[in-house]
Symmetry: C2
Subunit: 345 residues, 2 copies
């Protein structure tokens, strides 16, 4: 077989504000690959099926000297993130041809030779779930919600939780875990469609933070025992103001500041008098503790419809830059997934 195109999405420049498609990232079609002859050197060759686009991408778009909890993207190299692919060839017994692999280090390109599994894993799909679910509620975002909630919420029936970005991959799962635990759920998002979706998955009080004052909602519906924070900034200050004594704050994201600079927090000192507990949440350190439990429970509940989810699927690797921008601006409709190739192709 002759070499074929191996299109990629490259990190091109560090953005000042929002990431601009074609400037921050470039869709590049100059590379080719011969699927039959490309050397594997003991590794395996994967065809990328779909990629997840997540809020944390913005943090990886930084100059290489800035440290953070994730490695940054490298200028001139493909982006990487969670994704699903199918194995075309393998020289390792750990991975068989036809296996599906999933994990956080999928490159944003059509075909990739992996020297080893590393953080990727071979994954089995539930018969009644699409692969895309493994990039959302059955994957990293769902796991983030699950492990954070289990580890730190200390939730009790009758308590009140406030969930931000409640229509996103993480927030939607938090809403449903909270309802299952018997809590009253206040949830916010940035469009009327997202409000409707949050209501459909059980939020007791769902509101559009762009048209409704968060402080007014919390004053009326709070105080809040648990705050699931995906946004930071003024919303976080409002949560401190209307937090109950002994409240738990699960700090998962701060997207209000990712593109425009982090806002300083004015109400931090209220932590003392209210005896609040604030926990930073990354999924990977907590995942081993809850891994078996998560996969034993969540995919089946998603397949049966007991847990609901929404996703916005975009076709084409060339659309990654647009999807990244939409996720940062919140103009995406639901958890963002980019389909790179159909399985049958």
């Amino acid at each position: 077989m002759a070499p074929i195109q191996n299109a990629r999405v490259l990190f091109n420049s560090v953005p000042k504000g929002y990431p601009i498609p074609g400037e921050t990232t470039l869709y590049d079609t100059t590379q080719t690959i011969d699927l039959d002859t490309v050397p594997l050197n003991g590794g395996f060759l994967v065809k990328t099926l779909m990629l997840s686009v997540d809020p944390y991408f913005r943090g990886k778009m930084r100059s290489s000297e800035k440290k953070s909890y994730t490695a940054g993207f490298e200028i001139g190299s493909p982006l990487d993130g969670f994704g699903v692919g199918v194995v075309l060839r393998s020289e390792t017994h750990k991975v068989q041809v036809g296996n599906y692999i999933y994990g956080p280090t999928m490159l944003h390109q059509e075909y990739t030779v992996f020297p080893e599994l590393g953080l990727m894993q071979v994954i089995e799909k539930h018969a009644n779930l699409p692969w895309s679910a493994y990039l959302g509620p059955a994957g990293m975002p769902g796991q983030t919600a699950y492990v954070g909630w289990r580890e730190y919420s200390n939730a009790k029936a009758g308590e009140v939780v406030f969930v931000t970005s409640g229509a996103g991959g993480v927030g939607a799962m938090v809403i449903q875990l909270a309802k299952q635990a018997g809590l009253k759920v206040i949830a916010s998002a940035g469009s009327e469609d997202k409000v409707k979706f949050m209501q459909s998955i059980g939020a007791d009080v769902a509101f559009n933070y762009k048209t409704t004052d968060t402080r007014a909602v919390l004053e009326k519906e709070g105080p809040i025992d648990i705050f699931w924070d995906n946004v930071g900034g003024a919303t976080l200050d409002a949560a401190f103001e209307f937090a109950a004594f002994n409240g738990r704050f699960l700090e998962c994201g701060s997207i209000s500041g990712y593109n425009t600079g982090e806002e300083a927090i004015k109400n931090f000192h209220l932590i003392i008098g209210k005896c609040l507990h604030v926990h930073g949440i990354l999924v990977l350190p907590l995942l081993p503790k809850y891994y078996a439990d998560f996969y034993a429970n969540i995919p089946a509940k998603l397949a049966s419809g007991e847990i609901k989810y929404a996703e916005e699927i975009t076709k084409g690797l060339d659309k990654v830059g647009d999807v990244i921008l939409a996720v940062q601006k919140g103009t995406n409709k639901a958890k963002a997934v980019v389909v790179v190739a159909e399985e049958a192709e």
Copy 2:
């Protein structure tokens, strides 16, 4: 016996900045009391021996509609706080003449009729400790350090802790608990005398934050696994910057903002990527869990010198206003105690 003077310290006006003696508080000698005939109505009469002056007083100097974790002082009424007194008369079996009582609701006046014990308790003194120690390391400040450290530090030998206000009643106890647990202790305070005291009780790195840059110290001696925060503001931001992964922040005070307004916190968002755990600490909710343990251990260790402490004793109820100001400005030399009357008088 004829009526005698019952001097008081009254809350007179809400301060805008630092509390001004004679304006924020007034020393008042207009009241008298007849110790033999004052009606007890089933309560008991106490002669005030000594009073504690603490940083949290500033938070109680607010207009009455502002809510907080402690009741505010009332304009025209005596201040209240931790103190020790001796019982002169009693009409309740719970309190005997000659008992000493201790607790958070001692009025700042020479004699007080208590209708009931309430939050006060009858207390036994260790033979080799003065009563003043029960307002410092053997009382509320020591208990705050003890319960906070036990509940939330999750300390492991070899870790690094940063303690602010390390020469104060709380901070000095934290330094010694941390050394006992095998940690490296970085400690800050606002004078060279306080630095020497912190060194004498075991701090490995003690510095004067007024003359040494906190960030530079933490960059060199950190990262810090535990931060004991008595000050808030820019110091807290520095602690976030140089916190280790999985660090614990014990939020006990925020005195940098009590008199000049709370500073907004710029580095809060670092909580997420470092998976930090931040806990607000009040002593009273945690005290029942550690009460027996505290009194079984700490007074004896203080009496033997195994745990050291410093105090600055000021004589005279009329000096309370000055001492309050010194504590807020940090110009006091050590844990502040005001002696109102000698026992033998």
